[in-house]
């Protein structure tokens, strides 16, 4: 990965060296980089990595929510997971993550393109996209359940008004996960739109001019020119979207409480269940460790893979 000193295959112009020689210059650069990175990394190391190691460690111990006593049990917690619906939870998480990341990313790009057009209403509509981010999730999730209520909700009322059959959005185990994905997408797409619009508008003027002069239209314009240029944003959106989806809990808790039965019990919800319904912190730590491992793997894969789409050199 030669990101910093190489750009589009061209080496950077050699810079004047200061100080007493080669070693000192490089060390000053390193020192500067470490210093810049330190606040973020230092605080992360203290307040997240250290507790994270704590969790990984405790996943091999038995424990309960209120007790200070722990005893080493090796892989017993992981075995419990497998026996008590952990695999199903991971499967549900996979479906949820894929569904959410695809919808939120694709709709994010689509809405960003749409709202980037010089139409008169776009600025007002762009404003509505931050509503889901501003309003507390406890309120929006409750409203969502009311809107999608099978008997009284306006969504089903609208469906029957236009002649389509009513759908049991939240009560049908087959539909419930989709409804939760829809909520999460609605909630999250505004963030993606903001980032993609920023990326679209950062495309240099010359590139846009050139494309129009060349007569490139519609899809080809998008695929060949626009998409590669917004790839850095695409990487962020996809990676962060995946990480967020793997952790999704609050909206599931409010909208379906993991139900119907276990249709929306994702791994993160399973973690909560084990800790607060079964009081079994060993099992919840084990599932958390699994979530962590999978998320890390996905992140590594995605950053390497996606950056290649943009022409290499990034990621």
């Amino acid at each position: 990965m030669l990101a910093a000193d190489v750009r589009d295959g061209r080496a950077a112009a050699p810079l004047p060296r200061r100080g007493r020689g080669l070693v000192s210059w490089r060390m000053r650069r390193h020192a500067f980089a470490y210093a810049m990175m330190l606040p973020t990394f230092g605080l992360t190391a203290l307040f997240t990595i250290y507790p994270l190691l704590n969790v990984l460690f405790h996943s091999f111990y038995s424990g309960s929510l209120f007790s200070l006593a722990h005893s080493f049990v090796g892989l017993a917690n992981y075995v419990t997971l497998i026996q008590q619906g952990g695999i199903a939870a991971l499967g549900t998480t996979a479906v949820y993550t894929i569904g959410f990341v695809i919808s939120a990313t694709v709709l994010g790009i689509a809405c960003a393109l749409l709202l980037n057009l010089p139409l008169r209403g776009t600025e007002a509509v762009r404003t509505t996209f931050i509503i889901p981010l501003v309003v507390p999730i406890v309120a929006t999730a409750i409203v969502w359940t009311t809107l999608f209520n099978a008997y009284f909700g306006p969504v089903d009322a609208f469906l029957s008004f236009i002649g389509l059959p009513r759908i049991d959005w939240l009560g049908d185990p087959a539909m419930a996960l989709t409804t939760v994905i829809m909520f999460s997408t609605w909630q999250y797409v505004g963030q993606n739109v903001i980032l993609f619009i920023a990326a679209l508008r950062a495309i240099p003027v010359e590139v846009r001019e050139q494309a129009l002069v060349d007569g490139a239209r519609g899809w080809r314009n998008f695929w060949r020119i626009t998409l590669p240029l917004i790839t850095p944003s695409l990487v962020v959106v996809t990676v962060i979207g995946t990480i967020t989806a793997m952790q999704a809990f609050t909206q599931i808790y409010i909208i379906t409480q993991g139900g119907p039965i276990d249709a929306t019990t994702t791994a993160a919800f399973y973690v909560y269940q084990q800790a607060f319904q079964f009081f079994n912190t060993g099992a919840s730590d084990a599932m958390a460790a699994i979530i962590f491992a999978i998320t890390l793997l996905l992140t590594l894969v995605q950053t390497r893979l996606l950056s290649r789409l943009g022409g290499g050199g990034i990621g």
Binding site: S64, L65, F66, S67, L68, A69, I142, T145, N149, A150, Y151, F152, D168, L170, G171, P173, Y253, I254, Q257, G258, G259, P260, I261, D262, Q273, F276, Q277, F278, F279, N280
Partner: protein
């Protein structure tokens, strides 16, 4: 390109962040809570999860105590909503920041909370003072392995609400007394085209579903666990029959709606009854006020019988944590004052649908007069009430059983299958935990 403009922007940013941080740190120092000025005054922290009229009444009562007891100050704080209390309490206990008193816990958390070693054993004090004011069965629900770990606070059972208007329209003269009658009435009341059903069956994997199922079980003469609490007995034929009644309401007789109205906070399905979707609802006295507000023309009758009448009681609890000898003593003084009927009557009379744990209060004429007119039904049903076992395993058993009941209610398993699986899981849990 105004480089100076941009660097001044950065400078402004930097100064702003420094100022804000300084303000924050300064205010942080100022925000430190004062402790009582008087030298001998003991301050205790009390957390509550009360809301609405209950919170208003509690605040008023505590203020009265503080003004009449100059040597004790009870710092009453609404800490969070009830379903977040485990988050807050577990972290507080882990760092030694627990309150002295917690109002709004539930006894089923107690055996687990005892493991923290910080709960006060109330035997010595409570037996001599407040326990005799409270229904004995409820006191027993707060005892685990001989240790009383909490004091019951707030009680409830459930009965059957029915919509008088709907009943009149369907030509039903009297409310049902047995489940067979519920089904028969339900058939007359159900009209899917008009979004009308007979009764709401409690979907959801929360304790509510299990709590109401237990009433069905007991009404059919079944038992939850065996006498020694070593084996589950709810998969007996009585239990299977009881669960089958619910299943039939949904899929055979079709007198119940097929969707869940459960929320994270409660699963009783109040919205279904308030909206007129169902004409009957299993619910407790706390929703009397709700349906008054929703302007439903309702009546209340005993929880329907099968072989006998039964219902379930549940309660909230008050915990005391060992934050210091002086504070525990002060807490006991406060609680002894708080639980006397002369205090409990006015506090609970102000909260519609409130059922207390004390016979002296529930039978007090002033309380009866000021309370809701249908409270007598809930009190009457109380004589048929059973109580859940107080065990370390109970939360896990309930979670397992709730999941299986839900499988039946969503037509994924038969009642016999589900209860058998749940009983096996319960036996394993009991074996693992020792009881």
């Amino acid at each position: 390109m105004a480089v100076s403009k941009r660097s001044s922007a950065v400078a402004v940013l930097g100064v702003a962040s420094i100022l804000t941080t300084a303000l924050a740190l300064g205010s942080g120092a100022l925000a430190a809570p004062h402790h009582g000025a008087a030298a001998n005054k003991v301050t205790i922290t009390m957390w509550n999860t009360s809301t609405g009229p209950g919170l208003v009444a509690l605040d008023k009562t505590v203020a009265e105590f503080n003004s009449t007891h100059p040597d004790i100050h009870v710092n009453n704080i609404f800490i969070t909503q009830q379903d977040q209390i485990l988050n807050k309490l577990s972290t507080a206990l882990a760092v030694g920041q627990e309150p002295t008193v917690l109002v709004g816990d539930v006894p089923s958390n107690g055996p687990q909370e005892l493991k923290s070693g910080k709960m006060v054993n109330l035997n010595a004090w409570a037996h001599k003072t407040v326990d005799k004011l409270i229904y004995p069965k409820q006191v027993a629900g707060c005892v685990y392995k001989g240790v009383q770990f909490c004091i019951p606070n707030g009680a409830g059972d459930y009965a059957l609400y029915y919509n008088k208007t709907e009943f009149a329209q369907a030509g039903i003269k009297t409310p049902p007394t047995t489940w067979a009658q519920v089904v028969a009435d339900g058939k007359k009341l159900t009209d899917p085209a008009k979004n009308r059903y007979g009764i709401y069956i409690p979907f959801g994997t929360t304790e509510w579903t299990v709590w109401t199922f237990e009433g069905m079980l007991w009404a059919n003469g079944g038992q939850f666990l065996n006498r020694n609490n070593t084996k589950a007995l709810f998969d007996s034929p009585a239990g299977v029959q009881a669960l089958t009644v619910w299943y039939n309401c949904l899929y055979k007789d079709k007198v119940a709606p097929l969707t869940s109205f459960s929320t994270p906070q409660n699963s009783d399905g109040e919205q279904a009854f308030a909206s007129g979707l169902v004409a009957m609802l299993i619910d407790g006295s706390w929703d009397l006020n709700t349906f008054d507000q929703a302007k439903v023309n309702y009546g209340v009758t005993y929880f329907p019988a099968m072989r006998q009448f039964a219902t379930n009681t549940g309660q909230g609890s008050i915990d005391v944590f060992n934050t210091g000898a002086a504070q525990v003593k002060a807490a006991e003084t406060f609680l002894q004052w708080y639980l006397q009927p002369s205090v409990q009557v006015p506090e609970n009379a102000a909260v519609p649908g409130s059922m207390t744990n004390e016979p002296a209060v529930n039978n007090n004429p002033t309380f009866i007069k000021d309370q809701h007119k249908y409270m007598n039904v809930f009190f009457g049903d109380l004589k048929y009430a059973h109580i859940r076992p107080t065990l370390v395993s109970y939360p896990a058993i309930s979670a397992a059983l709730g999941q299986q009941i839900d499988e039946v209610l969503y037509n994924k398993e038969t009642p016999a299958q589900a209860l058998k699986i749940a009983a096996q899981e319960a036996d394993q849990i009991l074996k693992k935990n020792g009881e």
